[in-house]
Amino acid sequence: MEPILEVENLSVRIAGLHILQGVSFTVAPTGVTVLLGRNGVGKTTTLRAIVGLTPRGGEVRGAIRMGAQSLLARPTHRLVRGGLGYVPEDRCVFAGLTVAENLRLAERRGTTPAYDKVYALFPELDRRGRQRAGSLSGGQQQMLAIGRVLLNDNRLLLVDEPTKGLAPKVVTEVAEVLERVAESVPVLLVEQNLAVVRRLARGAVVLAAGQVAWAGDAQRLLLETALTKSLLGVGSAEGHAPAASGGPAGGKDGH
């Protein structure tokens, strides 16, 4: 099967830091491909480069293709309208707007927003339509962030650490939702929670120091404890990949 996304020799330099150094990988056209790695290796930078959100002044080289279409240098809003859904790290809901307004913002002219689908996945959003998004719990905000993207048809979803900072019960709920979503649209997922990875991921790409250190079957990676430990610094039986002390990419992976 042809991959839905091809990233080839992607390099990103921001404020003099060479964060990604020739990253190449593909995303399968179905299911969840997970992007793994310790903190600061460039996972978020990779996702943001794909969706065209590298900060002004940042330098992006290489090639990113979705099907026959090159994504590099295209404005973010066009990429998103072209079917690239993006759920950022830390949710980024509009705190001053209501839940309904957050959803309404994602509506697009000429298409029918899939409120039925979103409310079926997240009934809570329907009930809390008039509540300010800033007053929602972390889990509810995450559901809003995912729901907002699911209002429209997507060819690929980029989801950045959706379970970060959430209670275990909510983590399970979010994982269930992503599992259902991935039945109809491929997902490139950045995730630190290995239990979630085990449940969802088919393919895995592991980044280390701004480069691809390993790529292949996610379940095989998790079965090989020694490999997991060497790549992520944690045994596959454990919950989270730990924070690194900082590699050559430097700084926090939040660009």
Partner: protein
């Protein structure tokens, strides 16, 4: 008592003028992160275009419907200039703050020079309806109608902007963009259209301030926009970048403070007190009265 009423209403008139300039400035900064030093130019264009239209535009004049037409022409001219400034000069410079400041400062200076070269440096009498020269008795005070007109206009503009932000699709985009512009684009929205729109709204409000400021002061001069812009910036900072309601509160505070202190103290002391108020707000609440939100 009548002095207090008079000072309050004339202070509110001044506040209305500040608000009309500051509301657009605040939205532009809140959404687009552009510190627009050329905003005073939109006021100057509005004032001069109204003045010119009253004497030259068929159907326009200094009274009745003719005056309304002249003001409409002035507002349209200010809006057009604001849109052109955004499209031609600001758009290539988003996220390049220093270049933006240089361009907008240069444009404001060039704009004043252009107005001077065209119509001279001296203040010119502004055409205005007779009733705006008269006064209305309010609680024993004789209040100039020009000031009352400014207050009414500012309240209408405030209501219109809030309704626009609250009830329209673009208003929603602007409110969201003031919070997190990047996330708006990540939802598939071309936020640059909203930038142009806030420039247009700001230009229209400033041009209206120019036209009604001409009525209030009775004259129009090339440097009028620049001198009002200084206080408008203070209002924006005190009110909170991006907050229209915050700008309204701050404009009232600044206008009243200036008017009362200038009357009961010495002339000019009110301006110093306004700067002191700015310093106090920056020390105690750096995000301003309302913080960075497009509505209160």
């Amino acid at each position: 008592m009548d002095t207090i009423v008079l000072l309050t209403l004339t202070g509110l008139g001044l506040a209305a003028l500040y608000f009309l300039v500051a509301s657009g400035l605040s939205l532009v900064f809140g959404l687009a992160d552009v510190l627009n030093f050329a905003h005073g130019l939109f006021l100057g264009v509005g004032a001069y275009a109204t003045w010119w239209a009253a004497g030259n535009l068929p159907g326009a004049g200094g009274d009745g419907f003719g005056f309304l037409l002249a003001v409409a022409f002035g507002v349209a001219a200010g809006t057009l200039v604001a849109v052109l400034v955004e499209l031609v000069l600001i758009r290539p410079l988003y996220s390049r703050t220093i270049e933006q400041v240089l361009v907008t400062v240069g444009l404001s200076l060039a704009g004043v020079a252009l107005l001077q070269a065209t119509w001279g440096a001296d203040a010119r009498p502004f055409p205005r309806p007779d009733w705006t020269r008269q006064v209305t008795g309010v609680l024993g005070a004789q209040v100039p109608n020009g000031g009352l007109l400014l207050i009414i206009a500012a309240v209408v503009v405030l209501g219109a902007i809030l309704a626009f932000l609250r009830w329209t699709r673009y208003g929603l985009v602007i409110r969201a963009g003031v919070e997190n512009r990047e996330m708006v684009t990540a939802l598939g929205i071309d936020v640059r259209k909203a930038f142009t729109l806030v420039f247009a709204i700001g230009g229209a409000a400033a041009a209206l301030a120019g036209a009604l400021g001409g009525v209030y002061f009775g004259t129009v001069s090339p440097g009028q926009g620049g001198s009002l812009l200084i206080f408008a910036f203070i209002v924006v900072v005190i009110g909170g970048m991006g907050s229209v309601v915050g700008s309204a509160y701050a404009a009232v505070a600044v206008g009243l403070l200036q008017q009362f202190v200038n009357y009961y103290g010495t002339s000019g002391l009110g301006d110093i007190c306004v700067v002191a108020l700015l310093a106090v707000v920056l020390l105690l609440r750096p995000q301003g009265i309302a913080g960075k939100v497009a509505t209160a």
